[in-house]
């Protein structure tokens, strides 16, 4: 089929190829019909009250709130972090000054793996993909001058999530803000690390226990905090299709719910604080269908499978990030347009918060200039485009409803496969997710190779112009400053309180008690992230991944 037009799309044959010889599929490879009609809705037995219902009503296909963006715009939340705590703190203040409404902290790789800045494996990684936070001292500087009782904070951290959260809580309480007032989200989604992003520390079973500890702690003590952000974003970035992203994410969600129920928590006590995080790629309608199907599937799961009584338990609330993997290093200005299309799909899909990628992210860490354009993109959609006036404006579209239905059906089929393997963790151990993601990534790459899929400026419509965009320059003194602070923390802390806190942490970890109180004590005693992780690793073990090529 591809033979018909393999070659440069400048070639007139590309456009003149008869439609029946071209491939009309979504970016995920799903077929799209030429025209959708009322017959398509009839064929899927479309029923407004059952399948859609009004916004704010079960199954919430059209949105979790009746008034949606009329009542409250989505949170404009820009993922940020690089270098030392000082530099990232400055970026946060810059973003808040420019109208950002929520913080989102990116940590550097050593932090993401629970390692201190001076760990041998951290060589060369300081501050590269986010900010380094090795102790409470770093966290306090990172949050300096930021009104923690007003903003909501999202933290992208998974393996050492509990310890980093403990630092955030401790930093706020030292400033007199009680933990019960804190609002924000801990990503804390370890399952997708095993399947897609590989930022794990402990094996799956003890990792699940730590996640459940945090869910339990939030349920008891931090009613405004989202204890987990069940994430498809990284699954998609690793190469999955839209369907796989949704199915794997929801399957992970089911596993967390089951673990919390097993702990003895009441579904309606914790489910309202579960949140989700999706990717938004270029295929406009497929993405909108994905978001709508997500809400419907989750609502039905919560009510019918887990017996949730509260409507809030059935709400799927999610954050969206435009697709990092869609950005190109070639002609980076084009990324502004890609990001705009993706952001619009996220908004039409009813997202609760949104991060828009900066145009330079395929090349480097984003500069202030590039981040501002990305933030402005959201503001233009919010305040100029008019798309926020009506809720779920695409409802009833023959195409969108059909795609939503098809997405739902494919997701349910994947659920069945995972269950046949014994659930999410056995499926991880057998490499099911890893293999599917690698297969899809390779299939997409092959589609680019023979130009069945086009990426403008990359495999078609290329120009040889060198990009002219300013890059972020990191403070070369940042790493030195960070290492010096780490040395000072170790030298100046009270050794008795420190040893006692780690001793308690080890005991509590081994006794399978909730680790959160001991972690808060440990960070207050200035135990470093590496020390905390090593203490826990000695008890919980280390994950050794099955390598699936």
């Amino acid at each position: 089929m591809s033979q018909q037009f393999a070659g440069d799309p400048h070639d007139p044959r590309y456009r003149s190829a008869p439609p029946e010889q071209r491939e009309f599929t979504t970016i995920s490879g799903e077929p799209v019909r030429q025209t959708y009609t009322p017959a398509d809705l009839a064929a899927i037995g479309f029923d407004y009250a059952r399948d859609l219902n009004d916004p704010g009503h079960f199954p919430f296909t059209r949105g979790v709130h009746e008034t949606m963006y009329r009542g409250k715009l989505w949170t404009m939340r820009m993922f940020a972090g690089f270098g030392s705590a000082e530099e990232t703190n400055a970026r946060f203040r810059y973003l808040l000054e420019h109208g950002e409404t929520g913080l989102s902290i990116a940590f550097d790789l050593p932090t993401l793996y629970g390692r201190d800045t001076d760990d041998p494996l951290a060589a060369g990684e300081f501050g590269k993909c986010g900010v380094a936070v090795a102790s409470l001292a770093d966290m306090e500087i990172l949050l300096e001058g930021i009104p923690l009782d007003e903003v909501t904070t999202s933290m992208t951290i998974n393996g050492p999530a509990a310890a980093i959260w403990a630092m955030y809580i401790a930093a706020a309480e030292r400033r007199g803000i009680p933990r019960a007032q804190l609002r924000g989200t801990l990503q804390n989604d370890i399952l997708k690390e095993f399947t897609a992003q590989n930022e794990y520390i402990f094996p799956p079973a003890p990792s699940m226990r730590l996640v459940t500890d945090t869910i339990e702690f939030a349920t008891r003590e931090m009613p405004l905090w989202n204890s987990i952000s069940i994430s498809g974003y990284h699954i998609r970035e690793a190469g999955s299709t839209a369907t796989e992203e949704l199915a794997f994410t929801l399957a992970d969600g089911i596993a967390y719910v089951e673990a919390a129920l097993e702990r003895g928590l009441d579904i309606d006590a914790f489910a309202p604080r579960l949140s989700f995080f999706f990717n938004c790629h270029n295929d406009f309608f497929e993405e909108i269908a994905k978001f709508r199907a997500a809400r419907r599937i989750w609502a039905r799961l919560m009510r019918d499978r887990f017996g949730a009584k509260s409507e809030r338990s059935c709400w799927m609330r999610f954050h969206t990030q435009t697709a990092g993997c869609s950005l190109t290093a070639q002609e980076p200005e084009n990324n502004i347009i890609r990001t705009t299309i993706q952001a619009l799909a996220g908004v039409l899909g009813g997202t609760q918060s949104l991060h828009t990628n900066s145009l330079d992210e395929a090349l480097a860490l984003p500069s202030d200039w590039a981040v501002r354009i990305a933030l402005r993109t959201q503001q233009i959609i919010a305040y100029e485009s008019g798309v926020t006036n009506a809720v779920d404006p695409l409802a009833g579209s023959y195409m969108v409803e059909t795609l939503t239905h098809e997405m739902e059906q494919r997701v349910l089929a994947i659920f069945a496969e995972i269950e046949a393997l014994g659930g999410v963790i056995p499926a991880i151990e057998q490499g099911y997710f890893q293999r599917r993601i690698a297969d899809s990534a390779y299939a997409y790459e092959q589609a680019l190779s023979d130009q069945r899929k086009i990426v403008v400026g990359v495999n078609a419509f290329r120009s040889d112009e060198e990009p002219h965009i300013p890059f972020l320059n990191m403070d070369p003194k940042g790493e030195e400053r960070q290492l010096e602070r780490l040395r000072r923390v170790r030298a100046e802390r009270d050794p008795h309180a420190w040893a006692l806190a780690l001793e308690r942490l080890e005991r509590v970890t081994a006794a399978r008690e909730n680790v959160m109180p001991a972690l808060i004590d440990a960070v207050n005693a200035y135990a470093t992230l590496g020390e905390i992780t090593n203490t826990m690793r000695a008890v919980l073990g280390e994950h050794r991944a099955l390598v699936v090529v």
Partner: protein, 148 residues
């Protein structure tokens, strides 16, 4: 003395497939590119040894030595290449692996490419490089060490 039959002109010695080590140095867990590359090289008829994640320079050199690879592909997206690559080459030289073709892929800014080439990286395949470009480069530049 069964294996000593000298092959005559009509039974030419077989030159084996190109052996490639795909390695992920450092702490970066993003293995999408490494896996796509491993599959593409396999489909191009090469034998690919994938190290998995979190490889130290010493581990990479040891794997390259034991597996007697012709090519090493380093995939890195974290930005730690400036710190790690010189150490990898130091280890490779210490192991006597001077004739191995080393290529790199991932997010490596243009301004770093020259420095990497200076220490011995034969090619850097940045984001958006068509896979066939990388495959062709490896096929054309892999040392043929059967010519002894």
């Amino acid at each position: 003395m069964l294996n000593t039959v000298e092959p005559n002109a009509e039974v030419p010695p077989r030159v084996g497939p190109i052996r490639v080590l795909i390695a992920k140095p450092g702490l970066d867990g993003h293995d999408r590119g490494a896996k796509v590359m491993a599959r593409a090289l396999r489909d191009a008829g090469m034998e690919v040894i994938y190290t998995g994640l979190f490889q130290t320079p010493e581990m990479i050199a040891r794997a390259a030595l034991d597996e007697d690879v012709d090519v090493i592909g380093l995939s890195i997206l974290s930005g730690a290449h400036r710190a790690l690559f010189p150490r990898i080459f130091q280890e490779l030289r210490a192991a006597g692996l001077d004739d191995v073709l080393v290529v790199a892929g991932g997010t490596i800014p243009d301004e770093d490419v020259a420095a990497l080439k200076e220490i011995g990286v034969a090619a850097v395949f940045g984001p958006g490089t068509p896979i066939e470009t990388a495959v062709r480069f490896i096929r054309e530049n892999a040392p043929n060490r059967s010519t002894v």
